[in-house]
Amino acid sequence: MSERENLLVILLTSLAALVLNILPLPGWLPVVRPAFLVLTVLYWSTMSPFVAGAALGFIGGLALDVFQGSLLGEHALALSFVTYLALRFNLLMRAKPIFEQSLYVLVALVIYELVLWVIDGWSGHTLSSPLRWVHALIGALIWPVVVGVLGRFHAAR
């Protein structure tokens, strides 16, 4: 039963993260907006790997594709891959102190952007901005916050 509640929490927080991701923001704010959904999926797939499986990564990525208007399947593939990595290495990562976790998250986000970058190039969108790597850095920096916020929901089940 607690598992079902947990699934509900996971879905709701992911939805909230998606909304934060696509909320229209003025000026330069979108440039520094972290990839909330990716961080949320990363959190749940490391902290609760048997409830949030690869499906969460796939569906979340697909939602990103739809709302960001990218090539369909692009974010889905990148996020599925990162989720897979998180599922495989969750034991390794969970045991680490939070700032070391941030480093793992940085690696995961860089891989995520790298996959997107490769697919962009392959599908003919060859223009690229160095700003895309900022997302990875900012994501890693706010990882402690993500853990703090989502940890509350996690503990509250």
Binding site: L25, A54, V66, F67, G73, S123
Partner: protein, 338 residues
Amino acid sequence: MAGFGTSVGRPIYGRGPSPGLRFTVYALLCLILMYIDQRARWSERLHYGLEAAAYPVQVAVNSPASAWHWLTDSFATRGTLRAQNQQLHGQVQLLQLAVLRQQALERENEQLRELHHALPPLVKKWLVAEVIGVEAVPLRQRLIINKGAHDGVHINQPVVDGSGVLGQVAHVGPWSSEVILITDPEHAIPVQITRNGLRTIAIGSGNADELLLTYLAVNSDVKSGDLLTSSGLGGVFPAGYPVGRITGVRREASQLVAQVQAEPAARIDRAREVMLIEFDSASPAAPPAAPALTEASPPPAPVVNPAVAADEGGSGSAAPGGHGPSSRSARKKGKPHP
């Protein structure tokens, strides 16, 4: 394949297929999706459905912003309303004067062309749409608007606001569409400098306040402050709409092309309402029929069309007084139409 995920000991838990296998399945699914999306024929249908699915969420996400606008609108004080009213009155008078002059010019133009019947107006139909979503990251400059195929929106339809060209429709859904802005790096618009009729192409820079003109030679006659209007070539945008104003020209002797920047005339990052134009192809200012262009297609080669070439000369000579004459009359004439 199964060996992928065994080392961590996932099978011990016995909960369905290993993550490696699941990932492989999802990755294959993604690859199939990407393949389908790359095929233009299916991609449109796919996006039609997706826009429909995304529409409610986009409206919901945008609702706080629209609620805020509604609140500020309904609680506007008497003083601000009065000031606004006065300002609008002044504007209407100015526009009426401009229209009078415009009508005279149009008649004169007809006489000069020795036409015995009036030229059809450029714009057949206007459609006002509200912006319900913005994607303004450096590499993507897009808008989501709340009008779609059910309202008669079609792909490649030009989108303008009160002060200039905004972009064109990239994807259409039943109730919403995606607009690619002229500042998107994957967008290029054929333009003309009104001062001397020089034609070139303006490419989006990825910033909402900058266009790049990368095809002008070092010795070309262009200077800061020049007005750019759409040239009507390329088959998407009608001629004569303001596109932007040159803000900077840098010439280096060692390079073949000048580095020219322009500032878009439309209020790219502040537009809340946009207008979709449907133009009458019989009008001389309408772009020549060209095969539908995809959003990422390179700037089209100038098509030599006698009717258009003649018109461009005409509008060029009439233009110095103000921005594209056709646009102003069209806006006025389009007003009664919902």
